[in-house]
């Protein structure tokens, strides 16, 4: 790779040394952030087939509130909110590449959010993401779509609300993604589809890493995240959200 670049340099008067150093740094960063290469097979398939295994959320105690079954039902199939998430993820090639990338930072590398990531199919990764958003919603709102932060907030007109504690005012969240531009108002944030789609846009931005708006490391956690509990100063392993995510059976080796 370096020989090729050197050759191009000799034959091109427009390549400056600064650009080459930037290129080398980007290649090095990409290599160090890459996960393990995927292995063949489907270790979590049922009866040797490739059908998706049904993995229900554990309900009660320090696990998920019963309301979270709108993400994944008690029989392990997707609830209405889970279906919205899977539909979003599969809508474009760009989204599939971003959310299903075999080398997402932090999945198999520290903090090992999903050690089995490299072995999973896209459908299984879709299950992972539904489980992940259920985990975030559990911690942010106990999966109560009408949850509101009634405590001391900087702007009383713009209280965090809903499944993922988003801004009430459109103006305050419109920049976070195209799906965050729905109208202002508590009742609009309480529409689960609005909150879910906006949160997926936010997560997409997080996964972009340094090139995204949040300028993070591309990991779910710990990272420079909209959700406070996923930030490094809160916990290196994602706190309660990370604890719930790691319960996803599909990620276990």
């Amino acid at each position: 790779m370096r020989i090729l670049i050197l050759a191009l340099t000799l034959f091109s008067s427009n390549v400056y040394s600064q650009d080459i150093n930037d290129l080398f740094n980007q290649v090095q960063e990409a290599v160090s952030n890459a996960g393990n290469s995927p292995e063949a097979g489907c270790p979590h398939c049922v009866d040797g087939e490739t059908r998706l295994k049904k993995l229900p959320l554990p309900i009660g105690g320090r696990n998920f509130n019963a309301k979270c079954t709108s993400f994944i039902k008690s029989d392990g199939t997707y609830g209405k909110w889970g279906k919205l998430i899977v539909k979003y993820l599969n809508k474009t090639d760009e989204r599939k590449e971003r959310f299903f990338s075999p080398a997402l930072p932090g999945m198999q590398t520290t903090p090992r959010s999903c050690p089995n990531w490299g072995n999973m199919t896209n459908d299984q990764k879709g299950q992972f993401w539904v489980w992940t958003f259920a985990s975030i919603a559990q911690v942010e709102s106990s999966c109560n779509k009408r949850s509101v932060n009634t405590g001391a907030v900087p702007n009383r007109n713009d209280r965090p609300r809903g499944l993922f504690q988003l801004n009430t005012l459109r103006s305050a969240r419109a920049w976070r993604g195209p799906n965050c531009r729905f109208p202002s108002g508590a009742e609009n944030v309480y529409i689960a589809a609005n909150s879910i789609h906006c949160s997926l846009d936010i997560m997409s931005e997080i996964l972009k890493g340094r090139s995204g708006e949040y300028r993070g490391n591309g990991k779910i956690f710990p990272t420079n995240s909209y959700w406070e509990k996923l930030r490094p100063n809160h916990s290196s392993t994602g706190g309660d959200i990370g604890r719930l995510i790691r319960k996803f059976p599909g990620c276990m080796l």
């Binding site: 509101v148 001391a152 907030v153 900087p154 702007n155 009383r156 007109n157 713009d158 801004n167 009430t168 005012l169 459109r170 103006s171 305050a172 419109a174 920049w175 531009r181 109208p183 202002s184 108002g185 508590a186 009742e187 609009n188 708006e213 949040y214 300028r215 993070g216 420079n224 995240s225 909209y226 406070e228 930030r231 490094p232 100063n233």
Partner: protein, 151 residues
């Protein structure tokens, strides 16, 4: 139209000219603020180190500091009330050393959500230091520009 009518018309339109939005020159001035900021003093736990950036598309463009603070949009705006949401009007004003965004939420169809009220946000710029404050809650954060922060 006589001189009195013209004067009245000008006076009526003048506030909207002052509050009509941000100029290219002002946008360039704000762009020079981009970078990492560290909290030096704050009245609330939401005051946290963060990156300042100009964000959003044309009508939604504003300034964000970290995750919790957003001032915008960079123009007066109005969301009309519906059976689901309130009327939301914002007024934007910028001088050489400060930005002020006034937000009024009223005419709410559903009163129980406690959305109505007024918020006045200020961002005061002094060299590489910033002060963000909200009049109605007394919330304030002081920032100093640094090389890099962990948000």
């Amino acid at each position: 139209m006589n001189i009195i009518s013209k004067t009245v018309l000008i006076l009526l339109f003048l506030p909207s000219l002052v509050f009509s939005g941000i100029s290219s020159k002002q946008l360039n001035q704000l762009s020079r603020l981009k970078g990492s900021y560290k909290v030096t003093k704050g009245s609330h736990k939401n005051c946290s180190d963060g990156y300042l950036n100009i964000v959003g598309k044309e009508d939604d463009k504003g300034i964000r500091i970290g995750h919790s603070i957003f001032l915008g949009p960079f123009k007066d705006s109005l969301e009309k009330p519906t059976n689901k949401n309130c009327r939301v009007s914002t007024k934007f004003k910028m001088s050489e050393k400060s930005i002020t965004v006034k937000t009024v939420v009223d005419k709410c169809a559903i009163k129980r959500n406690l959305e109505e009220g007024k918020t006045t946000q200020h961002l005061i710029i002094k060299n590489n230091k910033l002060e963000y404050k909200v009049d109605e809650t007394g919330y304030s954060c002081f920032y100093s520009k640094v090389e890099k922060v962990k948000e």
